[in-house]
């Protein structure tokens, strides 16, 4: 009896999961299909579009019109750079919060998280002015800086939850064994937290890669990452459907591949260390 019920339930959840998955995946699939059609076919009715011949036209044209590799490189520098700098700041911060908490540590963590709840548009003008006055507009340094700051609360939070899982007695043991703070972090804490640090790194690279608010507003061409590359094909005039789709596919492909190969780490990261 119980087994029959649970079998039916797992079938139902299976169907539900696949449905939700397909619904979420559908736009991506559609973009991929569109990117392999000619501009003329791309705006045809869906059925006619699907039957139209496949072509690499759009990709060729995109590569001709804009420098994909420059944008790709900018994206890599911005996402990896901001994540690495973020980790460098966040590891000691999370260490302090997890192992020598003060009376206000919880409040501090909440405050850090609360900055993520503020709409970014609210600080657009001051940020823009700061960037302009410091000559940071359209520079990689400026973007790395801003994305580091944006993702820092998440990095600290994630590391904090991972560090919390490490038993305090192990750190005390290594202190008894003669390790100073630097060697405690280097030999004990960091190696034990490697899975956590890895998933934090991955998730933040992805978040920074996809970040489109600041990257679009603070860059023009030199420092423009792939988000700006996609945006340059979204125009109210002319035929750009296929090219826009091709650009999108080219922009998301690297991160999709990265995500595919690091699924296990990512799931850990997305659940914020809640499941061990």
């Amino acid at each position: 009896m119980a087994r029959a019920v649970s079998a039916r339930r797992s079938l139902l959840t299976g169907i539900l999961a696949w449905t939700i998955g397909l619904v979420i995946f559908f736009p991506i699939l559609w973009i991929v299909v569109l990117s392999f059609k000619s501009e003329g076919d791309a705006i045809a009715a869906p059925l006619a579009m699907l039957r139209a011949p496949w072509t690499f036209e759009a990709y060729a044209e995109v590569q001709e019109r804009s420098d994909y590799f420059k944008h790709f490189w900018n994206s890599v520098v911005i996402s990896v750079g901001s994540t690495l700098i973020g980790l460098l700041i966040a590891i000691p911060a999370a260490w302090a919060m997890a192992f020598v908490p003060g009376r206000r540590t919880k409040d501090l963590l909440m405050w850090m998280l609360s900055t993520k709840m503020m709409p970014a548009a609210g600080v657009l003008v001051p940020m823009y002015l700061i960037f302009r006055d410091f000559g940071l507009l359209d520079t990689l340094a400026g973007l790395v800086g801003v994305l580091t700051l944006i993702n820092l609360p998440i990095i600290v939070w994630m590391l904090y939850t991972y560090f919390k899982e490490i038993p305090g007695e192990i750190l005390e043991a290594c202190r008894m064994d003669g390790a100073d703070l630097k060697r405690e972090i280097l030999y004990i804490l960091a190696p034990m937290a490697v899975p956590g640090i890895a998933s934090t790194l991955l998730l933040n690279v992805i978040l920074a890669w996809n970040e489109a608010f600041w990257t679009l507003r603070l860059t023009a061409s030199d420092a423009a990452p792939l988000t700006a590359f996609i945006a340059s094909y979204s125009s109210p005039e002319g035929l750009f459907y296929a090219k826009l789709s091709a650009a999108s596919v080219m922009a998301i492909a690297p991160i999709l591949i990265l995500g595919w190969f690091s699924q296990k780490q990512l799931v850990r990261g997305l659940t914020f260390g809640a499941v061990k």
Binding site: E169, E172, A173, R175, M176, D177, G178, R183, M192
Partner: protein, 332 residues
């Protein structure tokens, strides 16, 4: 080396004075056991000695040198934790080698010492395994190995055997005692296990609510407990404590008599009672006798012919009777 002296040592957590004030002398080469009820401050005291907690007042000296503000690493002590606290990402070899590596010893010397320690502790077969691939007893041995390679001034143990099953606990108890015989290094050992305290200690420190109730050899505490608390705490099963008329007859507020010092007879004696539950341990039988002075625990031989409900008489052995005044202090 390995003399530890505590003078007026205090510890407060916020408003709570966990250790109001303690003086204690631990002599070179001694095996000292801290016992006391849960929450009385045993671990805290050990951690103060280790340097893992800062004192709120007082002085801790190690070998005559003021160590009060020294960090744990500089005190030259080694600690074995209840949870073993092994480094899960390192092999047994690297776990044991870690303190030597931190001390900056050359690799060949480290290897030699680690191999020697592994041999002493029967760990050679597991030397390349990770802690996760070891049994509880083996893990405990690794933790001890990590402590002995450094040749510390003293070992600190915080309930090291409480995660092991009964049989293994007996084995490890003997191994640690043996280790103490060989190394002759000072050991400070926290436990709430009566048997561990009685069998291993040169000196027992009985703690209650952060205060020292009595310090002495196991037999001293057993024979002449200084007050009612120690009388009731040391010895298993517990000493019978009797108040009221029977105590007044002896000129005391409370009298104490151990189960093994009550003679039982079915004909005549001082106190009358009826047999309640009896616990047969094979070698001994513990009878719970309901008397006018409460339920008294009596140790009888392995083969007693008494049953539940039988009428019996108990007679305390006069020279084994402990008398305490109204404040709980021993009357001499």
């Amino acid at each position: 080396m390995g003399k530890i002296t505590l003078r007026n040592v205090q510890k407060r957590f916020g408003e709570v004075a966990v250790i109001p004030e303690i003086d204690l002398d631990i002599d070179e080469g001694e095996f000292v056991v801290f016992v006391g009820p849960s929450g009385c401050g045993k671990s805290t005291l050990l951690r103060l000695i280790a340097g893992l907690e800062d004192v709120s007042g007082g002085v801790i000296q190690i070998d005559g040198v003021d160590a009060t503000t020294l960090p744990p690493a500089k005190r030259g002590l080694a600690m074995v934790f209840q949870s073993y606290a092994l480094y899960p990402h390192m092999s047994v070899r690297r776990n044991i080698a870690f303190p030597l590596k931190m001390a900056g010893l050359p690799p060949d010397e480290i290897a030699r010492k680690v191999d020697a320690a592994a041999k002493v502790l029967n760990l050679s077969a597991y030397i390349d395994r990770r802690p996760g691939q070891l049994s509880g007893g083996q893990r405990q041995r690794v933790a001890i190995g990590r402590a002995i390679v450094r040749e510390p001034k003293a070992f600190l143990f915080d309930e090291p055997l409480s995660n092991l099953d009964a049989a293994l606990r007996v084995n490890m108890r003997l191994e640690i005692s043996e280790l103490h015989q060989t190394l002759k290094t000072t050991m400070v050992y926290v436990t709430h296990d009566q048997v561990e305290a009685m069998t291993m200690a040169d000196k027992i420190v009985v703690l209650n609510a952060g205060r020292v109730e009595q310090v002495g050899s196991p037999l001293e505490l057993y024979r002449t407990p200084r007050n009612v608390f120690v009388a009731g705490f040391i010895g298993s099963p517990k000493m019978n404590l009797i108040e009221g008329a029977a105590a007044a007859a002896e000129g005391a507020a409370t009298i104490g008599i151990r189960p093994e010092h009550l003679d039982i007879s079915s004909n005549a004696g001082t106190w009358a009672g009826t047999v309640g539950i009896s616990e047969h341990l094979g070698s001994d039988t513990f009878l719970h006798v309901h008397s006018d002075h409460g339920t008294l625990n009596v140790r009888a031989g392995g083969e007693v012919g008494l049953r539940h409900g039988d009428r019996v008489w108990l007679t305390p052995q006069a020279d084994k009777l402990h008398r305490f005044d109204a404040k709980g202090a021993r009357i001499i």
